[in-house]
Amino acid sequence: MSSSSFDAPLDNIASPPPPSHKGFFGSFFRAYDRFSQWRTDLDLPQPGNIENLQKEVKATHLNNYMFDGARADLTKSLSMNPLFQVTHSFALGSQTLPSSYNFGAVFANQKVFLQGGVDHDGNVNARMNHGWAPNSVTKAQAQFSSQPGHNMIQLEHDFQGKDYNLNAKAVNPWPADFTGIYIGGYLQSVTKNLALGCETLYQRPSPDLSEFSTSYVAKYTSTDKSWIGTAQVQPAGMVQASYWQKLSEKVEVAADLQVIVAPTRRDALATLGAKYDLRLSTFRAQLDSTGKVSALLEQRFTPAFAFMVSGEIDHFKNAAKVGVGVMIESSTLTPEEMGMVPQP
């Protein structure tokens, strides 16, 4: 939800007629105009940013959706446009995470997205996006805790050109001595199908210690956008490849392979997953090379009530996890105010 409203591609930039330049410097400008005209004529697509390189794979696999134990999300919408809603989330009985309560609030309009959450220990997470233009978004993310060492801030700016994307991030920057982690990414469409890019990470944990590392990415999208293949090479000997295909309107499959070839460690992990979008439910199933089989069903009984069941069996460790969840939405608004057409 956070980025979708800002990620709209910019196809409607009209190219202005090339102005006539004279003199010595004019020839440079003419060359530049010719170059940009040629680039516009190529009509390359917007590649999306590096962070969203495997967006489709992540939406198909259930790693991001998996939970265990019991959970309940109660959402109350107080306004639809601009969006304003508050959420109470409860989670208990999980094998990996302690029981928790979280209160969240979201406000979003065309330009600004504000989100905040506070848990029962008083830890606050905050998120803010501001769209300066449809193709230029600044994002900030932070975590505040009363325990020292649990605070985090991340500042990010994302710029989408017509056929490229530029992204700059700063994680925990400290203004006094410029320590922190800085990341810059560039992704460029090379042909209508292929986009290539690189991402440089600059780590500076203390003023006299700094380190650069660059990873390279490639993304191939088929002409009808029914399948996408991506590859990413990281300097520490990590290679990640993924493949996603839309088999039909309702079925998507995705495969992901991660290989680590470092002098100290050799490892590989393969994941296969499928997602079925039915009329009122979504079913995800996944199998990976560590012997885990998992599935998640989200069933929506009415627009305001959804029920989730998840299960995971680890065949190598002989362990299992089960999760049950409910999502209830209520609103103080009448159907007309929510923009729904009343039933005749």
Binding site: S79, H88, Y101, F103, A105, H120, N151, A176
Partner: protein
């Protein structure tokens, strides 16, 4: 390189900013939400929301 005084001042300013955001971020969202919402919700809902928040902190 900034002097020691400047460094101390920056550290203090960051700490104050962090504390303000820690306690003020969610009240700010609720304030912005209630004042910009369409239709504007009643004040009693706003008050109950802050009560919830107080319990959470």
């Amino acid at each position: 390189m900034p002097s020691e005084d400047t460094k101390e001042y920056i550290a203090k300013a960051v700490e104050v900013g962090r504390t303000v955001l820690h306690y003020g971020w969610i009240p700010l969202i609720i304030y912005v939400g209630f004042t910009r919402s369409n239709p504007q919700p009643s004040l009693i809902k706003c008050a109950s929301m802050f009560l919830h928040l107080l319990l959470a902190y």
